[in-house]
């Protein structure tokens, strides 16, 4: 069986999914796929009446087809992965709905690629050059990821600069204090510290 959340292939005694950590929910024989990965899943029926659901595995860009037939399920071939912008995809859905009254065209946009996740921000913070490059490369196709990486890079650089400036000022202050006290005690009391 497969994880309902991310599509990872599970062993029979798995209680949590090794792919995403969500609990494993066994499928009842007559259950229909519902409410998963909202906004990504599409259902369509073929002539024989078996329902297939296309589910995108979040963050991986992988898609699977689960076919429920007599309560059995299996992973079918990957359907066509088409990378189109989200607006165009929504337009297509709308126009197909009007034309045929069904939803789903067998195409989906790989939102998994532009999750805008904080992970890219952290990577950008640790390696600002990488963050800058990712920002420039992704700013058109994957704006959310680009923003995350770019903000991370900026924050990383600012943090480092502020840290270095503050430490330097601390050094100046401490030494002025030390040498000031040293000078004063020498002048006033003739003591050398």
């Amino acid at each position: 069986m497969y994880c309902r959340n991310c599509g990872f292939e599970l062993k029979d005694n798995d209680k949590t999914c090794p792919g995403c950590g969500s609990p494993v929910v066994p499928l009842a024989a007559d259950a229909t796929p519902q409410g998963r990965v909202a906004g990504w899943a599409q259902k369509e029926s073929d002539a024989a009446g078996a329902t297939a659901e296309k589910v995108a595995a979040p963050g991986t860009g992988k898609k699977y087809i689960y076919v429920y037939d007599d309560g059995k399920e299996y992973k079918s071939q990957k359907f066509e992965e088409v990378n189109i912008p989200k607006d165009q995809y929504e337009e297509e859905i709308k126009s197909e709905k009007k034309a045929s009254g069904t939803s789903g065209s067998g195409r989906t946009y790989s939102t998994g690629y532009d999750s805008g996740s904080a992970g890219w921000g952290i990577l950008g913070c640790c390696f600002p050059i990488v963050g800058l490059i990712l920002f420039l490369v992704w700013k058109d196709d994957k704006p959310k990821n680009a923003k995350s990486a770019g903000v991370g890079a900026l924050m990383g650089v600012i943090l480092v600069v502020v840290f270095m400036v503050l430490t330097t000022i601390l050094g100046i202050g401490t030494s002025m204090y030390y040498f000031g006290i040293k000078g004063l005690t020498n002048d006033w009391f003739g003591i050398d510290i």
Binding site: M164, T167, T168, G171, I172, S175
Partner: protein
């Protein structure tokens, strides 16, 4: 929020609350260690990093490696994470702990060395002003 610690010890409760936030840890059960059935507050990787950072903070008073040493020590964890995410080869908890240890030590040593450099520079400026 998962409630991993059910006991009464207030210090432990504080640990379980703040350590994951500080580390940005996912607290995944399959990637954490268990002691007597109790899951650790942070995952194996974060545990390694924490121990490494504390070790770095202490050791910097005794050893001052060149800059390339801590930089190189940070690479294994990054490689482990990248291979796991992009290569889809699952790492192991021990590997996460060890690479995290090296990374934490390297990071803290880097930060400490930079701090020492900046502080010394500031010190010499202050000395020049007073004298």
């Amino acid at each position: 929020m998962k409630d991993l610690y059910q006991g009464d010890n207030r210090a432990m409760r504080a640990c379980y609350k703040w350590l994951p936030i500080f580390c940005g840890c996912h607290q995944r059960a399959d990637r954490s260690f268990f002691v007597k059935g109790q899951q650790m507050p942070v995952c194996a990787r974060c545990e390694g990093e924490l121990i490494g950072m504390i070790a770095g903070l202490i050791l910097i008073f005794f050893v001052r490696p060149d800059f390339w040493v801590p930089a190189v020590l940070m690479v294994p964890m990054i490689a482990d994470g990248l291979i796991q995410n992009l290569g889809h080869v699952e790492s192991t908890n021990v590997r996460r702990l060890v690479t995290g240890l090296l990374f934490g030590y390297g990071l803290m040593t880097l930060i400490a060395k930079v701090a020492i450099l900046c502080f010394s520079y500031g010190w010499s400026i202050g000395e020049g002003i007073i004298n």
